[in-house]
């Protein structure tokens, strides 16, 4: 299968002499058509530099990258690329959404009927039909972001690079935008490379994750596998009626984390001890004093926080 994006041994050095440092250090990865990949890393990990290299804004010091077989930064590669930046608008505030989309389509050589058909097709998909004649400055942030995504997709790119597309959005607008991006992915079978510090975006939209730090690839694989051993860990939070009850312990199986007056927390490794058995034993221990039980997985945030912490 031909890869949508192929980055080979990319090195980007800033500065010279003693002050030279590699922001990206021998980074290689491939994205395939239809894949949805999260590109993650702490601040200063080299994410933005890599993204800029992939869109042709920066040239690598060494190595190369191709988009659908075209060298990044070339005219053909730029035509295959859609860009959404949550912190940077590509729309013109005083013009209507349609006028903006019309111009952006022409930047990518779309003209005539083809252009109009595409704009209306995306307007339908992203539910912005009613916004087309409105001036951009009058839109809410959520509405504007949907229009931004449409602007990035108007030329039917093969890859969408989305940098923090839901930044600043409220939970409803966020969910709606994620759902629409997901719908677009399924409909057009395109590739998505997402960078976001909001890991709920990542969990909803991506199946694969590339984690980098100090410009070096630390992990490349399924998002679910990123949790490693932590994936089998479950946390149980118990609310009790009587604050004086001691915590329960079953060596190496149910591990007590901490205790507040009415809340006790436990960790269970489900590979070693079935969660049903743990619940049964805890309920036996607390008896009538058990008021409430909450079970949760280890979140992606925690996993990454752990990895980022290890770095420092």
């Amino acid at each position: 299968m031909i890869s949508s994006l192929n980055a080979k041994n990319i090195i980007k050095t800033f500065g010279s002499g003693d002050k030279a440092f590699n922001a990206v250090n021998d980074l290689s990865f491939e994205l395939f058509p239809g894949e949805s990949v999260a590109f993650l890393g702490p601040n200063g990990a080299g994410k933005s530099t890599t993204i800029k290299i992939l869109c042709g804004i920066l040239s690598p010091t060494y190595g190369n990258a191709e988009i659908n077989g075209f060298k990044v930064g070339s005219l053909e590669a730029n035509k295959q690329l859609g860009l959404v930046f949550g912190t940077r608008s590509q729309l013109f505030m005083h013009m209507t959404v349609f006028q903006c989309l019309d111009l952006i389509a022409e930047i990518y050589f779309l003209t005539g009927t083809e252009k109009k058909v595409r704009i209306f097709e995306l307007a339908e998909l992203f539910e912005i039909n009613s916004l087309l004649e409105k001036r951009v400055r009058t839109l809410s942030l959520g509405q504007r972001m949907r229009c931004e995504v449409v602007a990035a997709l108007v030329h039917k790119p093969k890859i969408l690079l989305a940098d923090e597309p839901t930044i600043g959005l409220d939970i409803i607008a966020k969910n709606s935008l994620r759902e629409l991006i997901q719908r677009w992915r399924i409909e057009e079978k395109s590739t998505l490379l997402l960078t976001s510090h909001d890991l709920s975006d990542v969990e909803v939209l991506c199946d694969r994750c590339i984690l980098i730090d100090h410009g070096i690839k630390k992990y490349d694989g399924k998002l679910s596998a990123l949790k490693g051993n932590l994936a089998e860990l479950r946390r149980i939070q118990i609310t009790v009626a009587d604050g004086s009850i001691p915590t329960f312990s079953k060596e190496n199986l149910i591990h007590s984390l901490d205790k507040e007056e009415f809340i006790h927390r436990y960790e269970v490794k489900t590979s070693k001890f079935a969660i049903s058995e743990a619940l049964s034993q805890l309920s036996k221990h607390y008896g009538d004093n058990l008021q409430d039980i909450k079970i949760s997985e280890v979140s992606l945030e925690e996993v990454l926080a752990q990895r980022y912490q290890d770095r420092s």
Partner: protein
């Protein structure tokens, strides 16, 4: 590059300029508020000039009003900071797009400049009669200015582009916009016609580029000819200016693209 590509590119950049021109008319209340004091400036500058120079000037009071109005129009739309910031701000993103930043910024700046000037012209057409200018005088001046506007738009676009590239190259050049503008204000005859200045100032000022882009066009609008030079000479002088600015802009753009690599874009 094939002929068809050049044609397509030309058509796109024309449309881009037109888009930017229309953008100037998209928020009329704000634009009116921004230009609200212009009629007052025209009135006060015309009166001051007339008060001190009526005995020696080449212009009647009505002509002075039109002259000051037109130079104000040209100056107030010359190398504006918002346009420069927008063009320089688009530098990075346009490297990821399939069109050249230099050309797309240029067409945008030209469109914005012409749009802004047409907007101010509409305003002045309403103001001139109130200030006491004859309608025939106004219509002749307006038609002459409309002939020159595209050419002047190109010159102003190149100046603004120069500052946009400089901003990408050296980051803090926007601080030079104000002094640069003031130099052109003083040397370009925006406050009063250079034709009425005493020697040797007149001789020196007429040689300089500011007179070609402020004084001479305004003089042409009022009188129907350029001061001391033929239409062809003015065209030649401004063409040379365009050539120099184009070469500088291309050179700086290449430098900016290289330098841009060293600080992370």
């Amino acid at each position: 590059m094939t002929y068809a590509n050049v044609l397509e590119s030309g058509r796109f950049h024309f449309r881009h300029a037109w888009f930017n021109l229309r953008e100037q008319f998209s928020d009329i209340p704000t634009a009116l508020a921004a230009n609200a004091l212009i009629p007052f400036f025209v009135w006060i500058l015309s009166n001051v000039w007339q008060r001190f120079n009526s005995h020696q000037g080449n212009f009647t009071f009505e002509q002075v009003i039109v002259y000051i109005g037109i130079t104000e129009l040209l100056f107030m739309t010359f190398v504006r900071a918002p346009s420069v910031s927008r063009a320089s701000g688009d530098f990075s993103i346009s490297l990821a797009r399939p069109r050249s930043w230099l050309v797309i910024s240029f067409s945008g700046l030209v469109g914005r400049s012409i749009g802004g000037r047409i907007f101010m012209l509409c305003l002045l057409i309403c103001v001139f009669p109130i200030l006491g200018t004859d309608l025939a005088e106004i219509s002749k001046a307006v038609l002459r200015l409309l002939i020159l506007l595209p050419w002047l738009g190109i010159i102003q676009g190149l100046f603004a582009l120069f500052f946009s590239v400089a901003q990408v190259l050296w980051h803090q050049t926007n601080y030079f916009l104000l002094p640069f503008g003031k130099i052109f204000l003083v040397l370009g005859g925006v406050w009063g016609p250079i034709a009425d200045f005493s020697e040797p100032w007149r001789k020196w000022l007429l040689i300089l580029p500011p007179s070609d882009i402020f004084f001479q066009p305004a003089y042409f609008c009022v009188k129907g000819n350029f001061y001391g030079i033929s239409v062809f000479e003015w065209f030649l002088r401004t063409s040379f200016l365009i050539l120099v600015l184009t070469v500088i802009n291309i050179y700086f753009f290449k430098m900016a693209k290289t330098r841009h690599q060293s600080y992370g874009g």
